[in-house]
Amino acid sequence: MRFSLTEDQVALRDAVRDLLAQTPAESVWDALARLGIFASAVPRADGGLGLSDVDLVPLLMEIGYAAPPHPVAETILAASLLAGDPRLGEVMSGERRVAVAGPDGLVPYGGDLVLVLDEAVRLVTPLSSTVERSVDPGRAILRARLPGGGVVSDDVPGTRRRADLASAAQLVGLGRRMLELTIAYVQTRQQFGVPVGSFQAVKHHCANALLELEFAAPAVLAAGWSLASRTADAARAVSMAALLAREAATRTARLAIQCHGAMGYTVEYELHRFAKRAWALSATIDIDEHLDRIAESLSLEGARP
């Protein structure tokens, strides 16, 4: 057994982290494209980096941490499905942004292309769309009319698992970001003549957030490994990861806002961006479905007559 990142995985993660920290929001997409991020999961034979799902996890945690206003994870996923498709070049180069369709034609980030998971995995261009109001200002939502056709794969469950894993990884990164902001804030904010971070109640909120995040992160990494290694329990591993990451991130959002006091309850300070991204990504993770999948794997379905 071994459960550490390789040097290559660490190097890629750090490169992405540095790039995201140093690049202004308006040029993040192009910078990521230049780094070759959108080709990262494309096989080497097709000009990509040939990274596996487990390689992507640390990278996607960084994407979550930075929460850029773009469908980065979705475009990486789509590019990996396009072997032999004429659209591969423009997707892996970042010329086209790909969103994953939600129910009823909801298209996050207003992607140029939309990955639809219904009877097959399909990549289509919206016919027309209207703008919806989005909770997350960095993740605009369109309601689009989507055409049929454009099949790129018939592995709907497998693609759904990879999308869930990507959301889970980003949620861990978002949680880390919110906790980091909170730790910095409670050390500066003074009340009663001392930093509020010296109060036990505040400390325990922070410790609880860390506890959840630290126990979600290995589960997400392990799920990436399970997918990449095609283990028999890969679907369940992703369900555990999605469940743990979603709950860790949403509870961290709650605790982070609380520990910031009124500062957490405003759009004039950056915390809200990460909380809203966490809520938006959480909405793509169906907790009931994951609980059912785990229960089924344990032969617990309908255990009571």
Partner: protein, 377 residues
Amino acid sequence: MIDLRDTEREAAFREQARTWLRANVPSGLSSGDTREGFAEHLAWERLLHASGWAVVSWPREYGGRAASLWEWLIFEEEYYAAGGPHRVTQNGIFLLAPTLFEFGTKEQQDRILPRMAAAEDVWCQGWSEPGVGSDLAAITSRAVRDEGGAGWRLTGQKTWTTRGAFCTHLFGLFRTDPAASRHGGLTYFLVPLHAEGVTVRGFGRLDGDEGFAEVFFDEVFVPDTDVLGGVHEGWRVAMATTGSERGPILRAPGRFLAAADRLVALARERGASPRLRERVVRAWVGAQAYRLFTLHQVSGVLDDAAPGARSSLNKLYWSELDIALHETAQELLGADAALEQPWSKGFQFSLGGPIYAGTNEIQRTIVAERVLGLPRS
């Protein structure tokens, strides 16, 4: 790299452990926290030792198998999966032993470890006192220099000493320099409980078993050779022991994985409402998450990242997981939950988890201050 499968060598070790454990694990032992049950457990511990399975991670010269950390985790998984009973030797082999390996003299190691491994000596922990729990550095039991005897005279009282009424030896902290700072004047002593001046009184834990004891010291002589680490260095030595107590050493994932599997089996057998089914699934997921966290942590240790204060994260997680597992089982049992049976015993035991080894309130503060860097109160 990441590979969560056993290597060939690990798989062979697992198979060997599984085969032996399945053939030898006793069933139906009485509680190890009663006098009769303790004797039954000792017989089991001695069989484990005779077959080389008592202390797998120790060096061979002391009765171990020089198993890797991975193999040790594998052993724990197989031990509890086979239904192995809780280890009445745990405070010696999992808490004192790692501290002895780090701070003990060769003479101490040679003298103490083989008898500990063989369950000839069984060790208990003497830290808490009637007036001292979470604030360990406030202990008042003292040791006074006995120059003539080249040793120390111990006086005071320890309490909440697990299985103290049945153990043969105690490791504990005593104040050797009352003038020094709270943390500065403490020394870590190793004391035989049959020494003159020691009185032990057992009493009931929450479940009524005599799992606790208070230990009185009245000018008990302890030679210099039974000081562990330096004189007045006891705090530093004790912190190494608490690291083992909170981290994955005392509570490896195997114990909780097995409990989670038993919970799932109970739910299948008894039937579970949708509400309880969800709780079963969540508790089972919690056990898997604890395993993955520990595997990740052990990989870090092998890469030289000592867990340090992060072992408080282990402690917070396993203690709350253990309660969740047992509460859920008790609910599944319906009216039978009121009967004394393994789950009701386990439930009551689990409530101690957030208290012993430093309360969870203290652990959260440690995490906030030493892992997250928040200012001390």
